[in-house]
Amino acid sequence: MCLTSNREIYSFGLNNNGQLGLGDTIHHVSTPEKIRQFTSFPIKTIA
């Protein structure tokens, strides 16, 4: 998971339990996808 300097979050990798936050449980995501839910919330930390 990546947090950019613009506070955008991109996630990729294993997603069997929905841990990528993309809204589904597609088993894995090979291309980074933006989590659009947080466009109005500035995220400062991902853990």
């Binding site: 979050i9 929905g18 841990q19 990528l20 809204g23 839910q37 919330f41 400062k44 930390t45 853990a47």
Partner: protein, 156 residues
């Protein structure tokens, strides 16, 4: 599990929370767990799979901690535990796997935890580390903390 902390101290979470390997099946254990972690989206996960419920859900931190913190400054997590940093110098620990972590933590850090404390749902305040926290690394069963001693306050 993935945690997201906003600059307003709002906490969101998604994924598997570590208590059960059957999160996406909507088993009774999960419903029980949902109450503990207060991640509401998990409650009806079984019935919402087709409508994509796996977006990060906001956690009611006031309910989780039993008190309101205005300054949840950092979160750290491994597959076994979550560390919450409140303000500059307070750390709270919450195990993610029910019994094994509890036992192991109480054995390896007896000054910090007792089994009875660990079994509570609310995160445990690590009072011994009430210092100015500079960095935290949360690995599987280990927590590494670097901290400064609190500067002395002098009255003029």
């Amino acid at each position: 599990m993935t945690l997201f902390l906003t600059s307003n101290s709002d906490l969101f979470a998604c994924g598997w929370d570590g208590y059960s390997s059957h999160v996406s099946s909507g088993s009774p254990e999960i419903n029980n767990l949902n109450e503990k972690l207060n991640i509401r989206a998990y409650k009806s996960m079984k019935y919402q799979e087709s409508t994509k419920p796996f977006y990060p859900s906001k956690i009611d931190t006031e309910r989780l901690f039993g008190q309101k913190f205005l300054t949840l400054t950092e979160v750290y997590c491994s597959d076994q535990s979550i560390i919450f940093q409140v303000g500059a110098s307070k750390l709270y620990w919450k195990p993610l796997t029910a019994s094994k972590t509890t036992v192991r933590a109480s054995q390896t850090m007896p000054n910090f935890f007792s089994p009875s404390k660990c079994n509570k749902n609310a995160p445990v305040h690590i009072k011994q580390l009430d210092k100015e926290i500079t960095n935290v690394l949360c690995a599987r069963y280990q927590i590494f903390v670097t901290a400064n001693e609190k500067p002395e306050t002098k009255s003029i």
